[in-house]
């Protein structure tokens, strides 16, 4: 079936999921519309319980939607779930490999589950153990592997069917920085070598910022922002400049700064006043500002510019800090 929506790798229309818990209906995902083109690397960013994983589970056919529809890799997730499954790879939050099994057995069987014959599956498994540095572990029992080794095995399992579209659910949770960097090496290699479309969920701001081409910010089951990290920061947060001047010159300084900045705040210290606000292109604005203040005879005692993070974006969108929410949840 050729559907008009297959031009997108992922296309959703009002995709919705409710859960009923103790007779209360929880709207985990509230009618989201998502479009993802082939070859994109998109991150779903949001606090725990925002609906990121629920969305991902619907897209991977693990969870049927309550309402709405989605087409993934050219097939409908409700009426052609098996087709979707055969075309995608999925790396979940848990251990993909069974603990009592051997590494190589699990990989070969995974290929068989995708309908590959034994010899094709075996050669694909060897290819992957080689590229993921698992060759020495092929005969080991999964339960004896370290956390990092298990994660590499999970990636290998998710790639056995050479999917054009790969989903990763919180791929780096609980990883140390070294293993996290390693994971991203593999993901980036996949993109470079095979142009794989990648969709992942994360609550790590730095990760979404550094690697994703596009970030969908999800909160309370809704997509509240959708753009590149750079654009989100520029439009929703902006650079923050803070200058401290002699108390006597506060009025002159405020007048100068007011022409350029937004959301200005002033705080009085003993004999000093600190003025802070949001500025476009803060790194370039600060030297200009210092020069102007100098011309006006204002003595600047301290100056600071801070480039925004995605946390500032989240803060400006929701009034809450994503970092704090993640810490509370963890």
């Amino acid at each position: 079936m050729i559907h008009p929506k297959i031009h997108h790798m992922i296309h959703t229309e009002q995709l919705t999921r409710h859960f009923v818990s103790k007779k209360e209906t929880v709207e985990a995902v509230k009618g989201v519309d998502i479009d993802i083109a082939a070859g994109e690397l998109v991150a779903f960013l949001g606090p725990n319980g925002a609906g990121k994983s629920t969305t991902l589970r619907m897209l991977t056919t693990l969870l049927p939607p309550t309402a709405g529809q989605a087409w993934v890799a050219g097939a409908s997730i409700t009426t052609e779930a098996a087709v979707v499954r055969s075309r995608i790879g999925y790396i979940g939050q848990g251990d993909g490999a069974g603990h009592s099994f051997r590494v190589m057995d699990e990989l070969v069987m995974q290929g068989r589950f995708y309908g590959m014959n034994s010899s094709d599956s075996m050669s694909r498994a060897q290819e992957l153990t080689k590229s993921l540095d698992l060759t020495a572990l092929e005969k080991r029992k999964v339960s004896t592997l370290s956390g990092g080794q298990r994660r590499r095995l999970d990636i290998a399992l998710g790639l056995m069917n050479s999917p054009g579209l790969l989903f990763l659910d919180e791929p780096s949770t609980g990883m140390d920085p070294h293993n996290r960097a390693n994971l991203w090496d593999h993901i980036n290699r996949l993109r470079d070598e095979r142009e794989t479309t990648i969709v992942l969920t994360t609550h790590y701001l730095e990760e979404a910022d550094a690697y994703a081409e596009r970030v969908l910010v999800i909160d309370h089951g809704e997509i509240i922002a959708n753009d590149t990290a750079a654009n989100l920061k520029a439009t929703l947060a902006g650079d923050r400049i803070m200058i401290t001047v002699d108390g006597a010159n506060a009025a002159a300084a405020s007048a100068l700064v007011a022409g350029r900045g937004k959301e200005l705040t002033t705080s009085n210290g003993s004999h000093e006043v600190t003025i802070a606000g949001r500025f476009d292109q803060g790194v370039r604005t600060l030297p200009w500002l210092l020069r102007e203040l100098d011309h006006a005879g204002v003595e600047v005692r301290a100056a600071d510019v801070r480039v925004p993070t995605l946390d500032d974006v989240f803060l400006s969108l929701t009034g809450r800090s994503l970092r704090e929410e993640s810490e509370v949840a963890a």
Binding site: R85, A97, G98, D105, F113, G115, L157
Partner: protein
């Protein structure tokens, strides 16, 4: 249909790799029925009136019961492995593959049945010197019947595992509180003929009763027993109902 067979084979092979890679588990699984036969058999022989079992060797009566019991224990506990896989995450990975949903259940149940064939063969062979008469064709038919029943039981067990995935203790609570009434009320271990009327009435509602009766008829070398027809019906119904409930549950297991 071809994918169902191929998928079932793949799931079965994955499960079997656990058994084949760990020979110790095979040895242990063989010792268990032997211990049971060796310890319970003599006790039963001493306490059962030979007239109640038509004057045959007590083994002829007791052995089929042991084999049905092995099947029941093996298939009714298979869900605990699934529960383990659900908790750790590997089951979700399997669900994300295009595997036929029934194949997941049938493959897992068949894995519990494969050792059964070996166990049954062993206890049967060991029993021959002690007066058991072997009717190979009838015994094979009996195992086939148990196979159909066992796939259903395994599917029920897996469905129970999925239903209790958020409260693991519930799996064992339900499994144990169903297993023993089913077992005792089937006349598997002790003849029910000498029991009170109400027990005999209850046993008529237990599908396992028909399976046990049919196995006894088959192991004593006859196909000419109405119990066999009822047992085939009971086995097919158990299998169909188990798979139906099981496949429904599989779809729910990720919510």
């Amino acid at each position: 249909m071809t994918t169902l067979v191929a998928d079932t084979r793949a799931v079965f092979q994955r499960e079997m790799s656990l058994v084949l890679r760990d020979p110790f588990s095979i040895i242990f699984s063989l010792v268990q029925p032997l211990v049971f036969l060796g310890l319970f058999g003599p006790l039963l022989a001493g306490s059962v009136d030979p007239a109640a079992i038509n004057g045959a060797s007590p083994l002829q009566w007791f052995l089929p019961g042991v084999i049905v019991m092995i099947c029941l224990f093996g298939t009714s506990t298979t869900g605990s492995n699934l529960l383990f896989e659900i908790t750790l995450g590997s089951y979700e990975r399997v669900l994300a593959t295009p595997l036929h949903r029934s194949a997941i259940l049938i493959g897992k149940a068949l894995k519990e049945l494969a050792p059964l064939v070996v166990q049954a063969a062993l206890v049967t062979l060991v029993s021959i010197p002690f007066g058991f008469t072997l009717y190979p064709v009838h015994v094979l038919a009996g195992l086939l019947l148990l196979g159909v029943f066992g796939v259903g039981m395994g599917a029920f067990s897996n469905a129970l595992a999925i239903a209790s995935r958020k409260r693991e203790w519930m799996f064992w609570a339900v499994q144990q509180s169903l297993l023993f009434p089913l077992l005792i009320l089937s006349g598997m271990m002790l003849p029910l003929d000498t029991g009170p009327q109400w027990i005999q009435v209850l046993s008529k509602f237990n599908p396992l009763t028909y399976i046990v009766d049919a196995e006894r008829a088959l192991f004593s070398g006859t196909f000419d027993n109405p119990a066999i027809g009822w047992a085939v019906l009971a086995a097919v119904l158990t299998c169909a109902a188990g798979l139906w409930v099981g496949v429904k549950q599989v779809g729910r297991s990720t919510t």
